[in-house]
Structures are given as structure tokens and as C-alpha cells.
């Protein structure tokens, strides 16, 4: 079982409050481009929303793909996070992830992905429609 967020996409309204709280708490700025969850609205066709985030999958190919071992284990949660200081910004993990779960920060300097907010994901708390679950 992956340890990441679960989403009931049928309920999502595309408000991006999840991305706002994520960027606010991770980088001290409101900026969806720096969020670890990304919301896409695809209209008029097919008329749906897509959420992308690290599912904390069991195989975690991102970890193996990293040439400098910058994706490290958070022992408490049993999930992997990107150590921003160690990351060289090569983008190998972005390529390796089959779920579109990690991507580059807009600066291009390092990769970003969901770290589950030390076990208390802020997006889950904020989502007004109950889409996201831990």
C-alpha cells in the first residue's frame, strides 16, 4: 500500500486551496508553482480536474534514480523526501516517477515533492470538499 494522499477526484472543484496552503507552509509564499500538489483544470473537454502529487509509492523509483542520494527516508513516516540542500537539480527523479509525482521548483535548482507535512498534510485539512485523505 502506498502511503501517500488519496483523492476522490469526483468531488474536486479545482479551487487550488490545497496548492495555496502547500506553498504557504513550505516556502512562506502563496505560489501554486512552488506547491507540492498540482491542480489542473481541463475544460471545456473533457471537463475534469487532475491532481498530481507524490503517491509515496512502494517502488519509489525516484529514490533509486537519484545520483546523489538526495531523496531520503523520513524514518518516522516511512516515506521519502527531497533534501533540498543535497539535490543538484538534475531532474532524474522527475523522469523516473511514473505518477508525475515530483517536479522541478520554478527556479530549476531542485526537485520538489510531497513530504506529507510531517504527518499532518495541510491540504487534507484545508480542502473544503473532502477530496483529499491521508
Amino acid at each position: 500500500m502506498s502511503k501517500g494522499l488519496k483523492a476522490d477526484l469526483a468531488k474536486c472543484t479545482g479551487c487550488q486551496l490545497c496548492a495555496l496552503v502547500c506553498s504557504g507552509t513550505h516556502v512562506g509564499k502563496f505560489n501554486p508553482s512552488e506547491s507540492r500538489i498540482s491542480v489542473e483544470d481541463v475544460f471545456p473537454e473533457p471537463g475534469e480536474f487532475k491532481l498530481s502529487y507524490c503517491t509515496h509509492c512502494d517502488e519509489h523509483p525516484c529514490v533509486e534514480s537519484c545520483p546523489v542520494e538526495a531523496i531520503k527516508l523520513n524514518e518516522g513516516l516511512g516515506t521519502y523526501y527531497v533534501d533540498k540542500e543535497a539535490c543538484t537539480g538534475c531532474g532524474a527523479c522527475v523522469e523516473a516517477c511514473p505518477y508525475n509525482g515530483c517536479w522541478m521548483d520554478p527556479s530549476g535548482a531542485y526537485a520538489i515533492k510531497c513530504d506529507l507535512c510531517e504527518g499532518n498534510p495541510q491540504c487534507v485539512e484545508v480542502c473544503p470538499k473532502g477530496v483529499l485523505k491521508r
Binding site: G14, L17, V21, P106
Partner: protein, 615 residues
């Protein structure tokens, strides 16, 4: 950069010389006028020469965000187009939600001021502190859906957000709108025509710079609590969350003030086919929110079968259901979905378009218009096929559309033969979907609205026809209008969505959270009063006076024909009484002009020398 919600920068674009510059935000004005409506009004008052032709290069077109746009203050991701209206000649502020406002902020700008006229069609592309004018040759003639798609491709950002005009704005129709994110319109007053007159097809933005607030940790805590307690669990929002604005169709039908068949009745026998239940059971696909919204009032709809199969829209919203539904004698929501989609694509305001279409059908039924005028269409009540062709006819100025494109007042004047008597407008802006003969306070709200007949400045109908008050008593209506106009002036400056029922105290709380500066309920009220006095002074400077705060003849002389409101009208004496009371409450003179004292008390001393009537 100060961490106070503002970016501190204004983008200035001169289309004539193709020069683009960045200016510092006037911080003093930001304190006095907040953002959005207020700040836009202050800049326009300062920089627009009085009396200029709204369609000339001398008019100023500006786009503003609020200090909270892009932050977690819920329901504040709106932008406003501020300009002088070519439809009314007044101050104009038209708002749209969607996703553009945060991108303007994240690109580093609080507002955009556009002057002059481009030699050929262009669009403005803004990203991360930079902006450029780009050739719009390939976009000209395209509808807004296609324009968005092409602009995104050209600028290479899948999620660049685009506000554009369609053929209606290009052809300078005075009821044309600016459409953002497919379905969100800065609809009223002819914003699209101002874009068109400047050869400006679109404004697009994508920013990655973010917005900072005073104290992020405190802010997130506050915002999380407010989103839950003041938005999601607020009983005022229950209907907006489950249904959105279509819920108002039944409220208006029950109060018999739902505009029907060109304002002849307040009850519509077909209302069950265009109400919220019809929407939910027949066309709803899913709920959809604007950026930063915990309500998600939007309904993404799609027609499943019949003549209009495949048509999609977000909504239709109440105003569209009323003006393009019942007012056009339409019984099926599918037809309204199609009409709404066409209006969005072509860049037409649905309130005005529903008004002129209802008028045209009425005139056809009376024999004033014939098939010669309609391009062969049998334009009768209930002919959905003919009705469905109207948006294109208006936008492209074909047949009778050539005159309808400039709004009901101008159209009726050109058509003549008694058409003028059928029109319902104030200052040239057609009435929205609350018939004052079923709630007479709305006549005052429409007459005194700064941009012409508008339901978004004051909404006395809530307390009487929809509540427990007496809808036909003039008592207390002036006070409601003054209070509402004060509050909405602040709301439209933040810029909050109409559907967040946010009070002064909470606006003060948000202001402090964003900017770090002290605020209070009283502080917010002062700002609201300042802004409303300013837009009034703007209009007086443009030559508007008491006569223009008008009651359309029909409201007085042509009583409604069925149900609770049968035989009801708006008595002239009641209207005049409300108006006089209203001027007094604002401290204005008998002509409805802000006095020197009123302006000084509102903190507008510096504009006094610019108003010739005060000399």
C-alpha cells in the same frame, strides 16, 4: 518587496507608442482605496480627462487585482476592468473570477493601465515582471475559446490565463464583454468594445513569483479557520454550495419578480424548466470553483440531447436564466445553456443580450420587426431555434443584430415605433433580473448604481421580497442602499466574490492578516464611503445629474400582469421619496452631487479642486 499582499508595481502600457513601463504603486492610494474598484477609480479619476469619448484612444482601460488576490483569503481571486463605459458614459467596473487575477499578482503586478490604440490587433502577455505586446493577427475573428487555446500555445504555457474579446468586442458592440477562463465575464457596460476600440484582443498572464503576506504562520492558521467557519459552515452560503445562483429562479418566481417575456410579467409558466432542479437533473456535469474558492458555486453543464446537444457552459447563472430564459420566453434550460455558451464564445454580456433579445422578440410579436429585420427568422416567443441564433446575429451585427449590439436603449431609439417605451434601463445599462415592481427598493438600487442599472451595488430585494420586509414600501430602502453600497465598495476593492457574505469586521480581520496594518469595522466603512463618493464624483464630473438616476417609464406606468405582483408598479412619488432620502443619507445636494463637506469627510479633499460644480 514588502510582505503585505501588494506587489507594489503597476504595469503601464501605451498601445500607440508600444511602450511598456513599470511604475511603483501609489502606496498612499492603496491605503485609502485598497485595490480593485477603489484603486482603479482613483487612478481613473486622476488620469482620465473628463468628457473623452469612451471609444477613443484617449479612454483609459485598466485591470486591477486586490491586496488579497493570490493569497488564501477565500474568494478573492477576481480581477476588475475599470474604464469609462461606452454604453453608459459612466465610471465602469466589471468583474470576473476564474484564474487570471492571481497570475497577474504572481507576475508581480497589482494593476495594469492601458492607454492609446494599437495600429493593428495585439495582445498583452505578462510573465514574471515582464510584459510584451504580441501580434494578434491570427487571433482576430476567433471566438474566446479558440483565442485562449491559441494564446496558451503561442506563449508556451499550458496554464497561462487569458482574458479576451470575441467578435462582439472586435465589432465594437456596446454590450460586449471580456471573457476569461472560457466562462467568466467582466460582462457589463461594454468592456469588450473598449478592448476592441484599442485593437487589444487579449491579456494573458502566468506568474511564478508568488505573493507574500505579513505573517505566514498566523495567516495560515487564521485562513484555515475562516474557510471552515465563515465560508463552508456559514449558513448564508448553504444554497450557494448546493445549488449556486440558479436557486434564485424559484425565489424570484415565488415573489413574482422574475423578468418574463420582455418585462411583462413577474411569473413564468416555464420556470420549472429553467430552475436549479432542471439544471441539476438535466444538464449538470460537475461543480466548479474559481481559484481560492471554498464555495464552488459554478455548475459545469452539458446538453445531452435535442437541438442543442453538446452545448456546454459554466452555469447558466441566475442572471442568464432570468434574462436569457424567462425574459425571452424560454422554457428549457438546454436552450439557455446554448445561448450562454454562444455569449461566452462571442464575448457578449448575457444580461444585456437577454434584454435585447427579449425586446426583439416582443417587437417581432407586435409586428414592429418583421422577417426582413431578422434575416428570415420567425422570432416568436418559444421558438428556440430562432432564439439560439440571436447571439451570433448580435455579435456579428447582422440584420437587426446591427442595432441590438449597442444595447436596448440605442436599439429602441433606432427602431422607433414605440420601441423606446418597452426598454428597461438606467443610464443606458439594461436592468438585471429583479423586477422592481416586485421589490421597489431595487428601482433605487438600479437608479443610483454608479455604472448604471446593477444588482451588485445594493440588493434590497434580500430583505423584502426574499425576506420578511414589505417589498412595496419605500420605508428604509434608502438606508439599505447606502449600507450595501458602502459594503460592496469595500468588497469590490479586496476583490471578494459577491457570494461570500463577508461582513465589515471580517474584512478588517483579513486586511490586517494580509497587510499587517491595523484595521477595524469603522476603518473598512470609511474606505467604502470614500470609494462610493469618488465614483459618484467621477460621474458628476462627466455630466451626470439627478435626472440620470432614473426610473424607466415602464416601471411606473406599466403594471405587472400576474400573480402576487399583478397590477403592481413603482409609484413615482415613492421613487422620488426614496431618492431624496438617499441623497440626504449620503450628505449630497438635491441634484445628487457630493458636497464639499461630504467629500472632505470621506477623505477626498484632494479631488475637490477638480470638480467644477464646487467652484
Amino acid at each position: 518587496m514588502m510582505a503585505d499582499g501588494y506587489t507594489g508595481k503597476i504595469l503601464r502600457v501605451d498601445l500607440t507608442s508600444e511602450k511598456i513601463t513599470t511604475d511603483n504603486l501609489n502606496r498612499e492610494w492603496a491605503k485609502q482605496f485598497l485595490g480593485g474598484k477603489g484603486l482603479g477609480a482613483r487612478y481613473l479619476f486622476e488620469e482620465l480627462k473628463p468628457g473623452v469619448d469612451a471609444m477613443s484612444p484617449d479612454n483609459i482601460l485598466s485591470i486591477w487585482t486586490g491586496p488579497a488576490a493570490g493569497t488564501m483569503v477565500p474568494l478573492t481571486s477576481r480581477f476588475v476592468v475599470v474604464t469609462k463605459s461606452p454604453l453608459t458614459g459612466t465610471f465602469l467596473d466589471s468583474y470576473a473570477g476564474g484564474f487570471l487575477a492571481p497570475e497577474i499578482k504572481y507576475s508581480g503586478f497589482d494593476g495594469i493601465i492601458i492607454k492609446g490604440k494599437a495600429k493593428k490587433p495585439v495582445y498583452l502577455w505578462i510573465t514574471d515582471s515582464k510584459a510584451e505586446l504580441r501580434d494578434a493577427k491570427n487571433l482576430w475573428g476567433k471566438d474566446t475559446y479558440k483565442t485562449e487555446e491559441l494564446v496558451r500555445k503561442e506563449v508556451g504555457h499550458k496554464y497561462a490565463r487569458v482574458a479576451s474579446i470575441g467578435p462582439a468586442g472586435e465589432k465594437l458592440g456596446l454590450i460586449s464583454s471580456v471573457t476569461a477562463d472560457l466562462t467568466r465575464n467582466a460582462g457589463r457596460g461594454g468592456t469588450g468594445a473598449v478592448f476592441g476600440s484599442k485593437n487589444l484582443k487579449a491579456v494573458a498572464a502566468k506568474g511564478t513569483m508568488g505573493v507574500e503576506v505579513d505573517n505566514m504562520d498566523e495567516f495560515v492558521k487564521m485562513a484555515k479557520e475562516m474557510i471552515l467557519k465563515d465560508v463552508v459552515e456559514n449558513p448564508d452560503h448553504a444554497g450557494m454550495i448546493t445549488d449556486g445562483t440558479p436557486i434564485i429562479v424559484d425565489m424570484s418566481q415565488n415573489a413574482a419578480l422574475l423578468p418574463t417575456k420582455n418585462w411583462s410579467s413577474g411569473e413564468w409558466e416555464g420556470s420549472a424548466g429553467i430552475n436549479s432542479d432542471a439544471l441539476k437533473s438535466r444538464v449538470l456535469v460537475r461543480k466548479k470553483a474559481c481559484f481560492d474558492c471554498a464555495i464552488a458555486c459554478g455548475s459545469w453543464s452539458k446538453v445531452k440531447k435535442g437541438l442543442f446537444k453538446g452545448a456546454t457552459t459554466e452555469g447558466p447563472e441566475y442572471e442568464t436564466l432570468g434574462m436569457c430564459g424567462s425574459n425571452c420566453g424560454i422554457k428549457n434550460i438546454e436552450a439557455v445553456v446554448k445561448f450562454a455558451e454562444d455569449c461566452d464564445r462571442l464575448g457578449l454580456d448575457t444580461i444585456s443580450s437577454g434584454n435585447v433579445t427579449g425586446l426583439a422578440i416582443d417587437l417581432y410579436e407586435r409586428g414592429v420587426l418583421t422577417k426582413k429585420d431578422t434575416g428570415g427568422l420567425e422570432l416568436k416567443w418559444g421558438n428556440e431555434e430562432a432564439y439560439g441564433k440571436m447571439p451570433a446575429m448580435i455579435a456579428n451585427r447582422q440584420h437587426i443584430g446591427a442595432v441590438l449590439a449597442d444595447g436596448a436603449k440605442r436599439a429602441a431609439k433606432k427602431i422607433g415605433k414605440g420601441a423606446e417605451k418597452l426598454v428597461v434601463e438606467s443610464k443606458g445599462l439594461e436592468y438585471p433580473a429583479y423586477d422592481p415592481r416586485g421589490t421597489i427598493g431595487m428601482a433605487l438600487a438600479y437608479a443610483t448604481s454608479d455604472r448604471g442599472a446593477c444588482h451588485m451595488r445594493a440588493w434590497p430585494v434580500a430583505a423584502d421580497a426574499y425576506g420578511s420586509g414589505d417589498p412595496w414600501s419605500p420605508e428604509g430602502k434608502a438606508a439599505i442602499c447606502v449600507e450595501d453600497q458602502t459594503r460592496t465598495s469595500v468588497k469590490w476593492s479586496f476583490i471578494f466574490c459577491d457570494f461570500y457574505s463577508v461582513n465589515f469586521a471580517n474584512m478588517a480581520k483579513y486586511y490586517t492578516a494580509v497587510t499587517g496594518a491595523k484595521s477595524s469595522e469603522e476603518h473598512m466603512r470609511e474606505i467604502g464611503k470614500r470609494i462610493w463618493n469618488l465614483t459618484r464624483a467621477f460621474n458628476v464630473r462627466e455630466g451626470f445629474a439627478r435626472n440620470d438616476d432614473n426610473l424607466p417609464e415602464r416601471m411606473e406606468k406599466d403594471p405587472l400582469s400576474s400573480g402576487k405582483t399583478k397590477g403592481k408598479s413603482v409609484p413615482r412619488v415613492d421613487f422620488e421619496r426614496m431618492l431624496e432620502e438617499y441623497y440626504k443619507l449620503w450628505g449630497w445636494d438635491a441634484q445628487g452631487r457630493p458636497t464639499k463637506k461630504a467629500l472632505e469627510e470621506a477623505g477626498l479633499k484632494d479631488i475637490v479642486p477638480k470638480l467644477s460644480y464646487l467652484k
